[in-house]
């Protein structure tokens, strides 16, 4: 039984290489592989700019955070970016403790993250 996580996709107006991905639920060791597979498919399909909306992401652990760092690195290597928006306080604290705030691109909301796409 995996933790519940759903990913919803939305196009971003004016961008053919970007997708907005809404994370819903808990991201942990039981479902990182599923998430990894789905985000890597987006990269393969040419969506090298991802805006991850975390407004409905309740929980993340160190394994989940590891995969987010991997997405960020992979996107940069492909000339794109992995931007995160709407992080709740609890999840932000975990990111902060691990020391990943400087490694991840974090924005207050989706509009701000989209505006930062280059």
């Amino acid at each position: 039984m995996e933790s519940q996580i759903e990913l919803e996709y939305e196009d971003i107006k004016g961008w053919t290489s970007a997708k907005m991905v809404r994370f819903i639920g808990d991201l942990d060791a039981t479902n990182v592989e599923t998430v990894l597979e789905r985000i890597c498919t987006l990269f393969k399909d040419g969506f090298i700019n991802i805006v991850a909306d975390f407004s409905k992401l309740r929980y993340v652990n160190s394994t989940g955070l590891g995969i987010l760092l991997h997405f960020s690195k992979s996107a940069k290597e492909k000339g794109g970016s992995f931007k995160i928006a709407n992080v709740n306080e609890n999840v932000y604290e975990i990111i902060e403790i691990i020391g990943a705030t400087s490694l991840l691109e974090i924005y207050d909301d989706v509009n701000e993250a989209v505006a930062a796409l280059k």
Partner: protein, 262 residues
């Protein structure tokens, strides 16, 4: 008409606790009896009164007002007056009178006493559970512990941190443990009003033990270099107030203490 009966009983649960058994109808004519029995409680310096009211059939607003006064006097002395066993009709009536905001209600005496011990003497609640060494079982375990913390009055932030600690400790136990049909992962919880202690015991895989020791030494010691592995342990250390790992014996025991903050 149900005749009013009252008695104040000695309690085995501490010298400062009185069990106040009340039966029948409580109305304006009961005020004298209320005061007489309440004075017995005060004279005995028993400032925590548990009113056992499962056989009370009526409470008038005058009687409620008198009991509020009694509760106030106990509260000024660091105690409380709680109600046990009230039927639903009377609870509804007290709710309409606004008394629900003043008095605590318990369904039975045992719950009331446990609550008293929890609040007054920091008596911990203990939980033990064991589960097979499978990653998929960690989420329900971590959520259960988080819910226990919430139920015991811990705030949302603390409960989230506790959930994270349990998740990381149990994930490590699964990752580094030997799947053993004869011995599951064991989790011990001790929670009181001020802190929670979490202990997770597993059988360590000898092949992984040296790398696990190196990671924990680095994180627990002064040499805190950033490691790709060991993020979970690092997280536990930052979220908790005390972390100890014991490799002696056949397995690994991780003991975490987290103080209540919110």
């Amino acid at each position: 008409m149900n005749v009013l009966k009252m008695e104040v009983l000695e309690s085995d649960f501490g010298p400062d606790v009185a069990i106040w058994r009340i039966e029948g109808e409580l109305d304006a004519s009961s005020i004298k009896a209320i005061n007489q029995h309440f004075n017995k409680i005060l004279e005995g310096s028993r400032f925590h009164a548990i009113a056992e009211m499962s056989k009370v059939t009526h409470i008038s607003s005058a009687a409620v007002g008198e009991l509020m006064g009694c509760r106030q006097m106990l509260a000024e002395r660091g105690g409380d007056l709680v109600f046990v066993g009230l039927n639903l009709d009377l609870k509804t009536k007290l709710n309409h009178l606004g008394a629900i905001k003043i008095f605590k209600f318990h369904n039975d005496l045992r719950t009331a006493i446990n609550q008293y011990a929890w609040e007054t003497h920091l008596k911990p609640e203990k939980v033990w559970l064991s589960f097979p060494s499978e990653l998929n079982l960690v989420p329900p375990v971590r959520q259960l512990v988080s819910q226990i913390a919430r139920q015991k009055g811990y705030g949302e932030r603390d409960s989230f941190r506790i959930e994270t600690i349990v998740d990381e400790v149990c994930n490590n136990a699964v990752e580094h443990g030997i799947p053993d049909k004869l011995r599951d992962i064991e989790l011990f919880l001790k929670i009181d009003r001020k802190k929670i202690e979490i202990e997770v015991v597993n059988l360590s895989d000898p092949k992984k033990l040296n790398s696990l020791k190196a990671i924990s030494k680095s994180i627990l010691g002064t040499n805190e270099k950033k490691l790709e592995r060991g993020r979970g342990l690092s997280l536990i250390k930052m979220l908790s107030n005390d972390l100890a790992i014991d490799f002696s014996g056949k397995g690994t025991t991780v003991h975490v203490t987290k103080l209540r903050e919110d």
